[in-house]
Symmetry: C2
Subunit: 234 residues, 2 copies
Amino acid sequence: MTTSESCSDCSVRDQALCGSLTNHELESLNRLGRRRHVAKGETLAWAGDDNLVCGNLLSGVLKLSSATTDGREQIVGLLYPADFVGRPFADQVDYDCTALTDAELCVFPREPFERALADHVQMERLLLQRVLAALGDARGRIVSLGRGSASGKVAGFLLDLADRAGTSGCRAMPGGPLTFDLPLSRGEMADVLGLTIETVSRQMTAMKTAGIISLPGGRAVTILDRQALEARLD
Amino acid sequence: MTTSESCSDCSVRDQALCGSLTNHELESLNRLGRRRHVAKGETLAWAGDDNLVCGNLLSGVLKLSSATTDGREQIVGLLYPADFVGRPFADQVDYDCTALTDAELCVFPREPFERALADHVQMERLLLQRVLAALGDARGRIVSLGRGSASGKVAGFLLDLADRAGTSGCRAMPGGPLTFDLPLSRGEMADVLGLTIETVSRQMTAMKTAGIISLPGGRAVTILDRQALEARLD
DNA sequence: CGGCGCTTTGACTCGAATCAATAGGAGTGG
DNA sequence: CCACTCCTATTGATTCGAGTCAAAGCGCCG
């Protein structure tokens, strides 16, 4: 794994922040950054650490989480490829950042990156938009956590994942069955939704029994009846 | 209520975004904006509306909320003086924005404001930081909603308000009793915390009975024993 | 095969929601 | 000033859903 990979072969070249840069600008940013591979389960940064790096996620899924005093954790956000990772202008890391799957990032030391931001107004603009999107995502999660029943939360989560998988993966027919792999364990789903493992499991089997989804094995899920899923949102 | 008030007498002049501007820049922005007063209970914008304005909150408290199908609502955020209101770069309003108290804003038409942002890099930078802060706030709310017990949620909320009141109001002694007015009704507290009115009320009286707080009347609250409140967070 | 981690399933408990009634407080008008 | 209404808050009795505790089941890898 060399550190000299160029941006031209970047899998998220046109979706991530750097898409706003000219080739020449990209060149100078590229000298700042390096590729980093993280294994599934590995934690990139712990809440409270000095905030040293930020970057773009190239592949894989990360979770942002906060440990609670009772030994469990609450996941406050999930990061997918092309998402921005880290929090500029903060001295400390605010949430644990852990890989749910093997993942690859393009990381920059924070301070030079902040200087680069100032030089590339377009990039700062894109970052602003991304943070606004993250804020929208977080607020959506608030609504789901505050109001939903257990079945509503699980249904909503599956729909979120389906939409995300639907854009990249392929669906035979709009409205037809859609299969994808959950990037999380039952326990992690519980930590996202503010439920327990047992409750998540029960909801999943209830939906399977109702013929709304099927669980072909492993972490795969097939959505058989999207409308029924939407009807469960409450 | 004239619309020609100048920025020089603005109560949040040095805390809000505009604090980054020179007097000359301020002048040109001032021509864009106007003061707007909203009465308690009035809704500035409804989710789904065309997104026409943004601005700074000068005084009062606003709520951002989402109506749920069961007729209740979830409050996703509270806005205090000097906070930025609205979401640049979005075509539609994403959450209802309603005044919890009488409030005063300095509003700008969205599109000209976005252009002004581009011209004033420093202001865009400050906006970015503010949105990052809002994201942190939202994520904190996620943790509280996902994990806390009812008493933990109420205790945490009171502590938040106390900290906010503590900076502007005055506290006789650090650690000593602190009194402030709730800007929300019981029902609104319930909508913030994802609880019911009855549960919030019960938690408040339980804390009063335990000697942790007192409720002098109206919407006032006195925190008698901050440590006990912190111990209730879970 | 056997052990380990993740998931499912079951029986029971407990906390918050719900349903329902009462109390308090602000404002109005006689 | 009191009587009345309206609205918010409190309190009580009961229900219900998710948590907890406990026991299998299953898949995976050594």
